[in-house]
Symmetry: C2
Subunit: 400 residues, 2 copies
Amino acid sequence: MFDSKKFYSKLGVTFESSIMNSIILPKPGTKLIRFTGGSYDVPSLPSAEVKRIFEEASPQAWAEMLQYGETAGMPSLLKELSTFMAGHKIKTDPTKEIIVTTGSQEAIDLVSRVFIDKGDMILVGAPTYLQALSAFRTQYPKFVDIPIDFEGMDTHILEEKLKKIKATGKKAKMLYIIPSFQNPDSSLMTLERRQRVLELADKYDFIIFEDNPYGYISFEGPMPTPLAGLDKSGRVMYTSTFSKMVSPGMRIGWITANPEFTDHMIEAKNNTSICNDGLSQYAAAELFRRGDVARQIPKVTRVYRKKRDVMLEAMETSFPKKAKWEEPKGGLFLWVKLPRGFDTDSLLMESVKNGIAFVPGSLFFSKPVHNYLRLNYSLPSEEDIVTGIQALGRLLKEKL
Amino acid sequence: MFDSKKFYSKLGVTFESSIMNSIILPKPGTKLIRFTGGSYDVPSLPSAEVKRIFEEASPQAWAEMLQYGETAGMPSLLKELSTFMAGHKIKTDPTKEIIVTTGSQEAIDLVSRVFIDKGDMILVGAPTYLQALSAFRTQYPKFVDIPIDFEGMDTHILEEKLKKIKATGKKAKMLYIIPSFQNPDSSLMTLERRQRVLELADKYDFIIFEDNPYGYISFEGPMPTPLAGLDKSGRVMYTSTFSKMVSPGMRIGWITANPEFTDHMIEAKNNTSICNDGLSQYAAAELFRRGDVARQIPKVTRVYRKKRDVMLEAMETSFPKKAKWEEPKGGLFLWVKLPRGFDTDSLLMESVKNGIAFVPGSLFFSKPVHNYLRLNYSLPSEEDIVTGIQALGRLLKEKL
C-alpha cells in the first residue's frame, strides 16, 4: 500500500471520521435509544401517499422523472414551491428565483461557495446548526458569534458587534440565522427582533441567509412569518426542506433568493450535482398538488407535540435540579443547560454505554462551549423517550 | 435594490450563467434538434421496471426510503454495486469502500474537495469532460494536459511530462482519466496503455481518478476492464453512474476507493448533501437485484449502436471532406475535427438559428482549442439525426 495520507488537500485532511457520525444517524442492528439527529417519526411517514403517486403517474411523467432535468429543478415542483411560500408571504418567481436542492444542506453548500471567501466575517448564532458551521468552514470564514436567547438572536448584541466591526474599517458579509425553532435550542425569534435584523442588514449592508426547516412544526398557531416574508430589500436568501415536515429521505430542499444570486448558485450546482433526482421531485410536486403536504404538516406536528410533552414530563421527574431547559413552542429538540464546567462530550461516552445517545452541545458553537446537550424527541417512541430520559436523568444525577 | 454584485466570493463571481447551459440541457417548448448533452433515449427508459418496483415495495422498504439514510449509501445498494463491479474485476468491500453519489458529478466534487489544493498539478486528457474541468477549477489546480488519440491517453507524452515535472523538483498529484469511450472523443484506451498508466502512477507516485460512465455502452463485446480492475496499489479511485446505462434522472452515481479515502469523502459529503435520495437508491438496488440493469444495458446499447450508424451514414453523405472523425466503438458521442483556424464557438450561434445545437469543442480543453465539435446521438430520434446532420453539413460546407 502506498502512503495515502500525503494526497489530501488542506481541507480534505480535516474530514476525519468522527464518533458523532456513527451516533447521530441511526444504524441497523444497534440497541441505542437515540435522542440525536432530527429524524422523522417513522409511523408518520407519508408512504401510502407517495406510493399512490407513483401508481398513478403517466408515461410522460415517468419519462420526465427518469431523464435529466433542469439544474434549477423540475418546473412543476418550482411552481408548487412558489405557491407554498406565498402562503407565508414569501413572493417568488418560480422560473428564476428558486432552486431545488438536496435537502437544505446543498443550499448551505451552494451559499458557502458562491458567497464566502477566506476571512469573510459571517455572523452566526451561538449556538447554531452544526452542519452549517462545518459547511461554511470549508471556505475558511471568520465567525462572529451572536448569542441566542429564548426570543432568538439578541439584536442588541448583534448591533454592538456590527458597530465594533465598522469601527475597525471592516464589514460583516452575511448573517446565517434560523429564526423559528432554532436548532439546537428551539428558540423563537420575536417579530420585533426579526424586523430589527432586517433594518440592521440595510444599515450595515450585509446579506441574510435564513434557514427554516423547523418553522412548520409549530405547536401554538401558524408558522411565524420568515424574514424572507418581511424583507423588501432582496438581501434575504431563504432555504427550507421536506426533511422535517414531509420526509428526509426524499432529499427535497430549496433555496430562494434574488434572481442574480440564484443564477450564480445554479451554475455552482452544475459542478456538484447537475440536477436533483426526478423521482422525488415528481413525488414532491404531487404531494403539494394533492394537498398531502398541507395535511401532513399538522398531522406530524400533533405527533411531535405529544412526544415533546412526554419528554418534558419525564425530564421534570428524572433530571436533576441543576439541569435547565425551556419548553419548545415548535421544532424537534430540547436544549439542556448544565452547570458551567460540566462536559457533555465526556458524558456522551458514558451515556452510550448505558444505551442512550444525545448530541453534545459543543458541536453547535463555533468556539468551545461544553455544558449543553441536545435531545431529539421526533424519532424515538414515547416509551423509549420515558426509558431513555429516566436513564439519562440517573446518569446526570450521579455526575452532578 | 442593494448592490448585490459585491457579495460574491472570488469563486462565486466566476459562476456566470452561460449560453451553453440553455443549449445543452433540453428545454420544453423549443424546436431545436439537440446533439448536445448525453441524455438518455427516452423510449428506452426503464419506466415499467421502476414502476413495478414501487408497486411491490413493502412497508419496511417505504420507511427506509422516506427516512434519512446513511451518508455512504443504502446498504442494499452498496452490496449490489459491489457485486456489479466484481463483474468487471473491481473488488470492493461494500461496507467501507463505496459511496453512493448524486451522479458521477458529486463524486468529482468530493474528489476535488478532498484532494485538490490551489496550485496542485492535475493531469487531464486534452480533450476531457468539461464539467470535471469546471469542478476541479473550483479548487484552483494547475492542469497538465496530456493529448488523447483514438487509443486513449498518450502514455509516452504522459511519461515525458512526468519526467519534466520531476526535473523541476515538483510532483503531479492526480491523473483524471476516462479510459473507455472518453468524453468527448469516444476514444478507447488500449490494455497496454492502461497498464502503463498504472506503472507510471507507482513510479511517479500520483493517484488516479478513473471516470467510467460510458464503458458499459460498448458496441463490440464486453466492457474493457477498468484501471480499477487492473490496479493492485490502491491508488485508483473509480466512479461510475446510472446516467448513461439506466437513467440519468435517478441521479445514482458511486465512487469506490481505498477505505481511508472513502472515509474522508463521506465526511465531505456530510457537508454537502448528507445522503442520497432514498427512493432512487431503493429502486436502483432493486433494478440490480431483479436483473433489470443486466437487461437494460444491452438493450440501450443496441439502440445507441443503431443511432451511431445512422449518424455516421448521414455524416458520410452530408459533411464536407475537410471534416474528420473516427467511428466510436462505444459511448454516446461523435467528435469532429475541422481544419485549424475554424471556430466552432461562432458556428454554434449560426447553427442554433438553423435549429441545430451541438457542443463546441473548446469546452473540453483546459486551454483554448476551437476547431472541434461534439455530436450526441443518444437523445435525438433517428429521423432528427438525419435531418439535423444534413442541415449541419450544409452549414459546414458553406463555411469551409
